[in-house]
Amino acid sequence: MTVATDTAVEVTKSGPSHSVSPPVDTPVVVDALVKRYGDKLVLDGITLHIERAETVVVIGGSGAGKSTLVRHLIGLERPTAGRILVEGIDIASLSDYEMSKLRRKFGMVFQRYALFDSMSVFDNVAFPLREQTKLGERAIRERVMTKLKELRVEHAAARMPSEISGGMSKRVGIARALVMEPEILIYDEPTSGLDPVTSRTVDELIEEMRETFGITSIVITHDMTSAFDIADRVAMLVRGRIAVEGPPEAVLLSEHEDVRQFVIASAVDPTRLEKRSKRKSPGELRAAFAESRKGKEKSTVES
């Protein structure tokens, strides 16, 4: 399976996915991933390469294995077979300590926000900084408030998670994921349970993160409108396998029966794709953020 963003790959129902050497700038590689729970096969040989500064949207119906895939990416589950490589490192071979260090590269926005309900919004966002850095309270306050302002929820800093709306909780969840300035951001069903207007706002936010920080994003969703608005590449999961992979147009043109049914049922407006012409490509973003990334890597090595 190739990974060029303008190439659609249709995977036959019976044909297994083959692992291929990833291109150079590919921070996440899923290689022939298999996951079983007892007798139940949930992921059946998933192979997916995610390039830097790219937004890959994994779509699929309920029970297709999307959330299981995402839990593997961040090391919350161990594969039955296959590998997950992050920056070339097989995460299954890592100790707890090494895994926790690697997790700093990731930020995760959970489906149900996963805000700590015993802490205020401010403390939620400050939590990873207090846990993983030696920053003083003043510096933490500054960074947290900056992130809350960027996500336009600074007015809710003192409130408890139970006192804010779903849309605001999602923004706080994103702020908490971003405050450590991760290189890879994973969104698990970012628009589920939200009204259509808030859903589109969240999509805009994901786009903003990509354009502003050059973040590599992996978005798990069953919302086709989201997929059309934010994806550089879409991978559709059907019964634990990738049925189609490529730019959003590829999903529209797919002849795979399950994919066609999904597209028809989602009633997505194909003209949305026309608005995407103004988007910067992952290649352009990579070039734009290459310098700042080098600087960041250098400072990490020095520290």
Partner: protein, 274 residues
């Protein structure tokens, strides 16, 4: 992709001997699995107890939750237990004119059995259920996963402070239970039934030994550990949404109470020479 569905090929008749054997041994298999999970959690908890950073703030909050917030309830149960025991002892011992032994008998039974067992049951019902519900809710709302993704060990952050608080506060509460229970027995025996106060305290001193208090404290320490560990286990690995949290809470209380009685027998048998 389903891989054949249920074993045995769909609602097999009872003639399927393998299926039948599996069903018969299922409870034993589950019990062994459960014990395995509990032992594994105990080992992880032990390992994380001595690793930095120490969660002092969370630990103090749990001391308050397990100890201070249970004080009134434990005191109330202790008072009435002491009062009931006093009436029953006076009633029984009056048959052979030995009612003046009441103070010592009540003190003995409170220190060796009633204080540690009833305190542990009260802590299981109040704090244990609360722990299971809180952790179960955190599991259901992905807060435990979120901790892990932020490179924080959920065992160290959530389980260790709770178990330590149980180990420290249950013996303290049991001592409090004992004191209030003796007070209750004094109220009934001396104030109401007009027994001699000198006899009351003298019999306590005569019948009670240091080893009785030690046995009570050892029991309450072990019960505190068991109740909090079992409660955390059920909350931590809760499955499903609200229903799963409810089930975890019920299981936490039921298995904590069963565990307390089982351990009570083991410790009594080990520490008592008959």
């Amino acid at each position: 992709m389903s891989d054949g569905g249920d074993a045995g090929g769909g609602g097999g008749p009872p003639t399927d001997s393998r299926g039948l054997a599996r069903r018969i041994f299922a409870p034993a298999e589950e019990a062994i699995e459960e014990l395995g999970i509990l032992v594994q959690m105990a080992m992880r908890t032990l390992a994380w107890t001595f690793r930095r950073p120490f969660r002092v703030k969370v630990f103090v909050a749990q001391l308050e939750f397990v100890g201070v917030q249970s004080l009134f309830l434990v005191g109330l149960v202790g008072l009435f237990t002491g009062m009931v025991f006093a009436i029953q002892t006076v009633y029984g011992f009056r048959r052979f004119s030995a009612e003046n032994l009441m103070g010592g008998v009540v003190a003995l039974s409170l220190s060796r059995e009633m204080a540690p067992v009833l305190t542990a049951i009260m802590v299981a019902a109040r704090a244990g259920s609360g722990m299971a519900a809180a952790l179960g809710n955190m599991r259901a709302t992905e807060q435990i996963d979120a901790l892990e993704t932020m490179a924080v060990s959920p065992i160290q952050y959530l389980v260790v402070p709770r178990v330590l608080a149980g180990v420290i506060m249950v013996p303290v509460l049991a001592l409090f239970f004992f004191g209030v229970g003796i007070g209750g027995a004094y109220l009934v025996g001396v104030v109401w039934l007009r027994l001699d106060p000198g006899f009351f305290f003298d019999r306590i001193q005569a019948l009670m030994d240091k080893s009785d208090l030690v046995q009570g404290l050892v029991k309450s320490l072990v019960f505190g550990y068991a109740v909090t560990l079992i409660s955390c286990r059920h909350g931590f690995y809760a499955k499903g949404g609200a229903e799963g949290v409810g089930l975890a809470t019920t299981r936490a209380v039921v298995w904590s109470v069963v565990g307390v009685f089982m351990l009570d027998y083991v410790i009594t048998a080990l520490l008592t020479t008959v």
